[in-house]
């Protein structure tokens, strides 16, 4: 099966209004920025987006929020986005906030055929409301269910024509677990190489999880908070 597609338009073919999407990234680090721009262009709406964060006002998922294309966000932290906070507090946007580790594990579970798991995270808080509680080794845990998506959209540093992916630095974050949990997984990469050029020992996401791969036209890779030290 040919997984490589020529461009972002082809990669995002079939994404429709009302669908559930997973989008990799932590803050603005490791987000599939080419695909997000394409979703804005496609004007799909009523989307449910599963993503750790919601971008900033004018970049990342913030671009979809601005156009009111998102119906529901499933995230762990949304603090850097004023428009998000406004839409959430006014009730325009449905929001499901999930502990970050539970979010990651729910995606992983969805990808690896585990329907649910128990975790201590969130016990005794509003996150636990309506969830089954069970003690293990005398400690209470809550039942969390797996997440999957119509499309998972991830960003990697390098990829090959088999769909194998290598991430760079902390841009890995949610991308590998989301890559596993998409019914269709789209990978946008900075550098696409022929099969055989990546060292099989160093691949992070095996290509079996990836259905479409393309090299992004342009990566702005915006930095949210530049922090530096002075040379002595």
């Amino acid at each position: 099966m040919k997984k490589t597609v020529d461009n972002v338009e082809k990669a995002c073919e079939g994404i429709e209004s009302g669908m559930t999407l997973m989008l990799g990234g932590f803050g603005l680090c490791g987000i599939p920025e080419n695909s997000i721009a394409e979703l804005v262009k496609k004007e799909v709406n009523d989307l449910t987006c599963i993503s750790n964060n919601a971008g900033v006002d004018d970049f990342g998922l913030g671009l979809l929020l601005q156009k009111k294309q998102i119906k529901k966000m499933i995230s762990s932290y949304v603090g850097e986005n004023d428009e998000f906070e406004r839409q959430m507090l006014s009730g325009e946007l449905e929001v499901d906030l999930i502990p970050q580790g539970s979010l990651a594990e729910r995606c992983r579970a969805g990808g690896v055929g585990i329907p649910a798991f128990f975790t201590p995270a969130g016990y005794g808080t509003e996150v636990a409301e309506g969830k089954e509680v069970r003690d293990f080794d005398g400690k209470p845990h809550i039942l969390e269910t797996a997440l999957t998506a119509d499309y998972a959209i991830v960003k990697a540093w390098k990829g090959d024509t088999e769909g194998n992916l290598i991430y760079k630095g902390t841009a890995r974050n949610f991308n590998p677990v989301m890559a596993m949990a998409g019914k269709i997984t789209i990978a946008e990469v900075e550098e696409l190489v022929p099969a055989g050029e990546l060292d099989p020992n160093e691949i992070h996401t095996p290509g079996i999880f990836v259905q479409r791969i393309f090299q992004g036209d342009k990566f702005e890779k915006r930095i949210e908070k530049v922090t530096v030290r002075q040379k002595d």
Binding site: G124, G169, I223, K225, K231
Partner: protein
């Protein structure tokens, strides 16, 4: 003199032990990394996926693919490793991290903590805090003793939505170092020049005060 944020970080840094893997939250906790005692080695974990986090980069050397959980640009120490979010929280949930330091809006005498939401006003999300406090066995809260209105943040019961129950083991504030056990705050040390009376007045939850409360020693 009550401590400033740096003083709080310096006091917490004395709790570090050689070989510890440590997760530092955003705000005052981040400063702890600057005061690691000489002669010991600790590794900092940031839950977005790095173990062996180093200093901020030099100007011009920032890398968009290398940030901490506060989204700040960082560097990696020799021997550092990157991993995905599931593995990262596996380290946390699986108790492979020996010390967690985080900020709070409120702490209760039974060890409950609230730090993620003010209903109707501020909803930023819990991020990794619920996973951290749900599993870690050694949790130090770094915060000011009172809020901007002068009200105590050390309470008999939290009023804000909880982040975790019965989990905080120590609190270091601008006024004091306290242990949280048996349903009470136990005063262990005073900030330099701060009296026991001042600490009592600023603490709403049950406070156990031993006969002798030494002053903190800060290097």
């Amino acid at each position: 003199m009550a401590l400033d944020k740096i003083g709080i970080a310096k006091r917490i840094a004395q709790e570090l032990e050689d070989g510890f893997y440590v997760n530092l939250g955003i705000g005052i906790p981040t400063l702890v990394a600057n005061y690691v005692p000489e002669g010991i080695q600790v590794e900092f974990q940031s839950e977005n996926g790095i173990l062996g986090m180093g200093n901020f980069p030099y100007e011009g050397e920032e890398d968009a693919d290398l940030i901490n959980a506060g989204k700040q640009t960082i560097t990696a120490q020799p021997g550092a490793v990157y991993f995905d979010s599931s593995t990262s929280f596996g380290m946390i949930r699986g108790n492979h991290v020996q010390l967690t330091v985080l900020g709070a809006m409120e702490v209760a005498a039974n060890g409950d903590i609230a730090n993620w939401k003010i209903p109707g006003k501020m909803v930023k999300g819990m991020g990794g805090a619920m996973d951290l406090v749900g599993s870690a066995e050694n949790i130090i809260v770094a915060m000011m003793h009172t809020n901007k209105k002068g009200e105590s943040k050390l309470l008999s019961e939290c009023s804000l939505p909880l982040t975790g129950v019965n989990c905080v083991t120590k609190v270091v504030t601008n006024l004091a170092y306290l242990e949280v056990k048996d349903g009470a705050f136990h005063l262990i040390e005073r900030a330099p020049g701060v009296t026991v009376e001042e600490i009592k007045a600023a603490t709403e939850g049950d406070l156990v005060v031993p006969d002798n409360v030494p002053e903190m020693k800060l290097v």
